[in-house]
Subunit: 353 residues, 2 copies
Amino acid sequence: MKLTNDVTEKLGIRYPIIQAGMAGSTTPELVATVSNSGGLGTIGAGYFTTDKLDQEITHVQELTDLPFAVNLFVPSDKLYLPEKVEKMNAWLRPYRRALNLEEPTVNISEEEQFNTAIELLIEKNVPIVSFTFGIPDGAIIDKLKQNHMKLIGTATSVEEAIANEQAGMDMVIAQGSEAGGHRGSFTYVAGDQVPLVGTMSLVPQIVDAVNIPVIAAGGIMDARGLIASMVLGAKGAQLGTAFLTTEESGASTLYKNAIQESKETDTVVTKVFSGKPARGIDNDFIHNMNRYDDDIPDYPIQNQLTNAIRKASAQNGDTKWTHLWSGQSPRLARAVSASTLMQQIIRHTETLI
Amino acid sequence: MKLTNDVTEKLGIRYPIIQAGMAGSTTPELVATVSNSGGLGTIGAGYFTTDKLDQEITHVQELTDLPFAVNLFVPSDKLYLPEKVEKMNAWLRPYRRALNLEEPTVNISEEEQFNTAIELLIEKNVPIVSFTFGIPDGAIIDKLKQNHMKLIGTATSVEEAIANEQAGMDMVIAQGSEAGGHRGSFTYVAGDQVPLVGTMSLVPQIVDAVNIPVIAAGGIMDARGLIASMVLGAKGAQLGTAFLTTEESGASTLYKNAIQESKETDTVVTKVFSGKPARGIDNDFIHNMNRYDDDIPDYPIQNQLTNAIRKASAQNGDTKWTHLWSGQSPRLARAVSASTLMQQIIRHTETLI
């Protein structure tokens, strides 16, 4: 099986290995190292201000001349219900009291920041953009394409993959249920849940349904996962957790250690941190706050309400009240440099194909 | 990649393709056809009386001289709480009334039937036994091994796989969360749930942890899934849903059609039918009964309480109150003969490896 295909060609990279845009945990060093190693580094810009995004892009461009991507969160419909926020603030009071934190003010507007980010990516000649939580408006897609940017969508179901293809995405990530962090979902299915389809099932069913290249994600940590994905029909793989524990990652030592000490059964999918379902290592905060599942305000409201609690808990060296996003393969996570990880994957593929 | 390895050698089969022991849906024709096509057919004996099992084994032995397996449910700890059964009977009353059914009597003893089945398998020279829901006592394992029978365990986590290896199983099935029907789990994890780890994550983590051969299960429907599993380190694959829609399968036309009309996002994991978590297509019964999740008696009590309702619903040609076990890849299910399915998988592997 060849590692060069229409994904590597379209993206201008050597190996079809994409570092996931892990918002909050990417650094310019990580992004540039992955790209310099022949893969595609991704700036996880989901929570960035425009200024911060500007600085990060400049920094990455100083460290590499090779293609890299920026991952953006697409603004989604949400309801701001003051009573719900008040109720949630009541449930969060014990945490804030314990950590000496005040109630934050909530800002639900994502659109302005998203639109400014799009303008910035064009201005800075970012070659590749990937999207999570949905598909941007046709006008935005047209503008990015006029600027010769390659667009990567995210799908957690066949329906979402088809929607990405129809919207004009150049390729689509098939995010299996094993994946750590936020579900990229933008549709609801049985039981009013987001799709949670395993990578082994999701990839071939999406491959059979669309004509654009498919990139597998979810549980992939090494050459075995990359080649297995490609046997299933994907043209490449996106790895998150595998890069999260590398030396160049921006994740705290506390967070990296938590992943390395975890088992494959330790993660759960929860809305308690951000208001959107995401997979992370089960802890005290998830356990307690799951009881108030019906009271969780929509993303990004819940994200803002819990943000300071999570930061303070982590700063105190305590994993119990902070998010610990991880996929279902933490036993395969290694504390190596991102370039070593890339080299190991590439070298090992030769023994498998 | 070679299709012959220690799994094919130990089991005496040509291709490392195992038809899952789908209790209630296997027929002697299906089992024999899979074995005669070079794979391993499996009698799903989970719900059989000893007489029925005797007949089925005899029938399979008339149809093939090649190895086949019998899958047994290992008896598990359970609580019989009369108040809980009474409460559940109250919730089930509307269904029984609509279908003109009486309250069944409950029989919680599984041990006697299990032990008699073990004796029968020895007597009938069944070459291979696979286990679901746990690991039998050491004395039973010893006896089966003294009779030169090969034993296949089921694991849904690394911990369960190690327990299977330590108990002396010859090989272990790694059942990913994509799999249809009952979870083979016998341990509980975060959130008091059974493990639900995707095949892409589960297989390599189990492969790294045990020395016995691993067989992948969950979402595997075709040559792509088989070879992807083997790239992940498995020595073979077990397919359930793929064989369920074949001509030789014992599933009703109603049930087969329901799978073929389903999407990858249509299944849920539920305890409402049997008291043990199992993956099936979401329907009215699951939707309504999920509300009484805390009132569901342990397996096999709930299984017996809902049995007549499910049968009557299916006999009326109605899918809404019957179990429709399916994995997460129903879009890949085909209405062909089991021998055609086997041939297609084997022929297609050549283009992938």
